[in-house]
């Protein structure tokens, strides 16, 4: 540890302090003041950005390799902070549907964020496990937050059972790897694997169990079962957080493990990942076509997006990793914009059904425009962020000769465009069931503007973002 007042764990320490203070505030503040926690939480998250990127020269492994502070970790800390800020802003819009304990919801968001930040820095399975559980436990509670809503409770229960099951897989897999190498440290593991890159059966079994555990997090087929039900049942901001934050967290781990630790054995797992990616893309996009509930549709579509992201993992190259990072960045703005609109529409109509979106362009042009941009970006239409992300992913696939995977990805673009455009059609062409205008509050409006700006910026002025993505993943391969 350094003698300077700066610590490598500055971000986590700061966040822990913020959480502690807000717990105290929540306990003491009057009921009317509790919503202010949102503002305070956002204010508390803002310093994360400078802290995450401070002292770039002092990167490396700390706490005997448990804690890594490399560009990947730094980048994703900023990513999670941004996600959390937007989710908190969303939650404020959603707060009217939450009867009790709104302050604690914000706190749970913060603790989950805290877990994500730890996860981004995890350099040891122990750290990884703990960080993951912090996230998951927070999400179990958040999912069930609408206590009187049957759907919310059902979603929470399902998430808990399946989540715990996958934790079991993960742990069991870790134990095998531990038995094989005698260490839970990533660097040590990598060395051990580099010695025998074909992976003997025991560590291979452990590896597969771990993939299952992380695959569960990112909702990859066949570990995706929870996602549609939980996405649909959870409070919308939580769904948004799950779809962006939790998924990104899973991909950080995948990047670290597959592109870092197990990179020498890529010959073993590339084929598996190609299959998983291909099936996930197709499954998510095909079933999304058949959905009538917006949240459920976005859930399936997010399975599809996980499949796309897995292309980048499967490519097992610097380009693939950069593509994953870039894609996640674009996905953040895009998906959060979409869920913000979902909340605004739910607030006005009380429904998440696609029918509620009929004639939205007449009722609330801003919402319709934002949804339009978001959906097109999800589909991968230029000049939006999603296009560049998909472009990079397909590039990575072609680069490694994964032509069939690239072809599936390309075909799924068409499928996804179909159901996204059906929504566009509802919003822009169909007549509204109820022509009264939907009021759009200023935070929502500005939040949407911000997201759209992000989507467009990442779609048009790609170089700075790409440079950032490339820089963050570079440490994985060095």
């Amino acid at each position: 540890m350094s003698a300077l007042p700066w610590s490598p764990m500055a971000v986590e320490l700061w966040l822990a302090a913020v959480i502690a203070i807000l717990i105290w505030y929540d306990l003491t503040a009057a009921a009317d003041d509790k919503p202010k926690i949102a503002i305070l939480a956002i204010a508390g998250l803002l310093p994360v950005f400078p802290l995450a990127f401070a002292h770039p020269e002092r990167s490396g492994a700390f706490c005997s390799g448990m804690y890594l502070l490399d560009p990947l970790a730094r980048g994703f800390k900023a990513f999670f902070a941004l996600t959390a800020i937007l989710v908190i802003a969303m939650t404020r819009e959603f707060a009217r549907h939450i009867t009790r304990g709104i302050g604690e919801l914000y706190l749970l968001i913060l603790t989950a964020t805290f877990g994500m930040m730890m996860l981004a820095s995890a350099g040891d399975f122990l750290m990884l496990f703990i960080a993951l559980e912090i996230i998951t436990l927070s999400f179990y509670v958040m999912t069930t937050y609408l206590r009187t809503d049957e759907k919310s409770v059902e979603a929470g229960m399902k998430y808990l059972i399946l989540g715990a099951l996958s934790t079991g897989f993960l742990l069991y897999g870790i134990s095998f790897l531990y038995g094989y190498t005698g260490s839970t440290n990533f660097a040590a593991l990598r060395e051990a694997i580099a010695r025998s890159p074909t992976l003997p059966p025991w560590p291979l079994l452990g590896f597969l169990l771990i993939v299952a555990g992380i695959g569960f997090k990112v909702a990859a087929v066949p570990f995706h079962w929870w996602a549609p039900d939980v996405y649909e049942g959870a409070p919308t901001p939580v769904t948004a957080f799950l779809s962006v934050g939790s998924k990104a967290a899973g991909f950080v781990v995948l990047l670290r493990l597959l592109h870092g630790v197990f990179e020498p054995a890529s010959g073993v797992w590339m084929g598996l990942l190609v299959w998983i990616a291909g099936v996930t893309i197709l499954y998510g996009n095909l079933v999304a076509m058949a959905q009538m509930n917006m949240k459920r549709l976005l859930a399936y579509s997010s399975i599809g997006h996980a499949g796309y992201l897995l292309i980048g993992i499967a490519a097992a190259s610097g380009l693939g990793a950069a593509a994953v990072t870039y894609y996640l960045g674009g996905y953040l703005f895009t998906n959060l914009a979409a869920f913000l609109v979902v909340i605004a529409v739910f607030n006005a109509t009380g429904s998440d059904d696609l029918t509620a979106y009929a004639g939205l362009s007449k009722r609330a042009p801003v919402l319709a425009a934002a949804m339009f941009v978001a959906l097109l970006s999800l589909a991968g239409v230029p000049p939006l962020a999603g296009f560049v992300g998909k472009f990079l992913l397909l590039m990575a696939a072609v680069h490694r000769g994964l032509l069939w995977l690239a072809a599936i990805g390309a075909a799924a673009v068409v499928i996804s465009l179909y159901y996204y455009l059906l929504i566009v059609k509802r919003m822009f062409v169909d007549p509204p069931a109820d022509p009264t205008p939907i009021p759009v509050s200023r935070p929502v409006r500005w939040g949407l503007y911000g997201c759209m700006a992000g989507i467009l910026a990442m779609g048009i002025w790609q170089q700075p973002f790409l440079a950032l993505a490339v820089a963050s993943v570079r440490s994985l391969f060095s």
Binding site: M157, K158, I161, L162, L165, S166, F169, T198, L199, P201, L204, L205, L208, L209, V211, A212, F216, V221, P222, F223, W225, W226, P228, D229, V268, G271, L272, Y283, N285, L286, V287, A288, M289, A290, Q291, I415
Partner: protein
Amino acid sequence: MAACAVILLAGLHRPRLAGAAAIAALGAGFLASLALLAQALGHPGEAVVEHAVPWIAIDGLRIELGVLVDPLAVMMLLVVTGVGSAIFVYSTGYMAGDPGVPRFFAMLSLFACSMLGIVLANNLVMLFIFWELVGVSSYLLIGFWYEKPAAAEAGKKAFLVNRVADFGFILGILLLWTISGATGQERTFAFTELAPRLHELAEGGGVAALGVGLAGALIFCGVLGKSAQFPLHVWLPDAMEGPTPVSALIHAATMVAAGVYLLARCFFLYAEIPAVLALIAYVGGVTAFFAATIAVVQHDIKRILAYSTLSQLGYMVMAIGLGGYGAGMYHLTTHAFFKALLFLGAGCMIHALHTNSIWEMGGLRRAMPVTSATFLIGTLALAGIWPLAGFWSKDEILAIAFHRDLILWAVGTLTAALTAFYMGRLCFVAILGPPRGHHHAREAPRVMTAPLVTLALLSVVGGFLGIPRFVHHHAQVHVEFNPLVAAISTACAIIGLAAAWRLYGRPSTVPVLLQLKWRRLYQLLTHTYYVDDLYRWLIRHGQDRLATVSALFERYVIMRWCVNGAAVTTRAAGYALRYLQTGRVQTYALALFAGLIAIIALMLGAHAS
């Protein structure tokens, strides 16, 4: 110089100037042509002007816009501008009061311009361009009264029949172009360059000669359409739906003559290929006879003239097919005079009586003396009565036929008799016969009769012009005046006229009896040998059925099965997969576990192997 006329006219149809401007322009063209004639007479046998500017010049392809004025072109220019001017003048009277007059003259000018373009063109592509433009303007002019369904149909038919013919024409041009490269030089479309090369190739024989023959036959396809030769003649009678000056200009004097002109223009080509020449001659002969027989039973004055035109065109084509290049052009010229005269005369009658049927006319000799007189002159000229124009030119053709091919001579002579017969029928019924109908006929205004008189004059003296000697080709067949042939044909003509007088000169039941007696034949003729019906059947059962089948294939095979099928299958897959998500958390756990086991088994299996 003459190109100026072309450009002037081309400029004309845009600003929609009225008739005066059009006449002035064409008149100027006529004067220019006269000047050219003077020049041409000074230098017999040579091209007077040849001048070209590049139109498309890219590597491997050079197409020029050029002017080639040789005696042939000069003669044709005179016919087009001269007869054209007369018809233009006439039109101002005929079309007076029609709201579409500016449009009419614009199109008429476009037509004249295109026609001159054909005449002056120095290469095949340019000729083809103006050839097509002639087709377009005739389409527009025939369909001038577009509200009349028959007129609109007729215009369409004319254009499409010509299109079919031009299909062959352009292929012929391309083939010729390709062949022209066989001598090792750059390929060319220009007439003056083509001629020597083809001669060289034909001498060489072999594949090239075959190609030349094929090209010649294909180009003749174009002639079939434009000059309305059998079996592509069907458009011409229908084209009578257009205003009468149009019929006169297009279907008598110029447009249909374009085909004959093309034959003459490409004579250098045909001179090398006797087999195709024979084909041409027989097509001409068949058309001449075939059309004349149909003309015998027509009732519509313009249709009679139209079939007569067909028949006369058959003569011209036959003449050229027999090698009588000069004779064909000679007949073309004289025919232009008297057929224009006849059409314009018929136009006066129609104008006065508002009917086309000869059975509703009659007694016009007194009511319309000028028209009647000139019409009679035209009739006699057409019938080939000495000393009128038709006699000399037709006789020259028959003399050549007599010399070359007796069968065709017989056909030609028989046709001459038929011609005299149906024209006699027309005159005896419509002009000399008793007045019928309720119309109070009046003589046409002077602006219409003046052209008639001019043309009548030309029909009388046209025979003394030495055209065959003026237009000259080294390969042409030239025959001296043959008194025997002349006597026979004149006799036939007189027999024909007499027969017409016997049947129609006075009230008689004989025609009706004949109709009943030879009903089959009569029906065959009134149905124009069922050629139209055959085409209609072909279109309905060939073209339209093919179109319907294609459309069904499009709708069911491509759209429904392939495209929509793929889409529906994909969507169905989505709906089916949806039910995997049962909602039972334990099913999920089982599926998750099963998936994991499957992956482990596969991976360990792969590992073991």
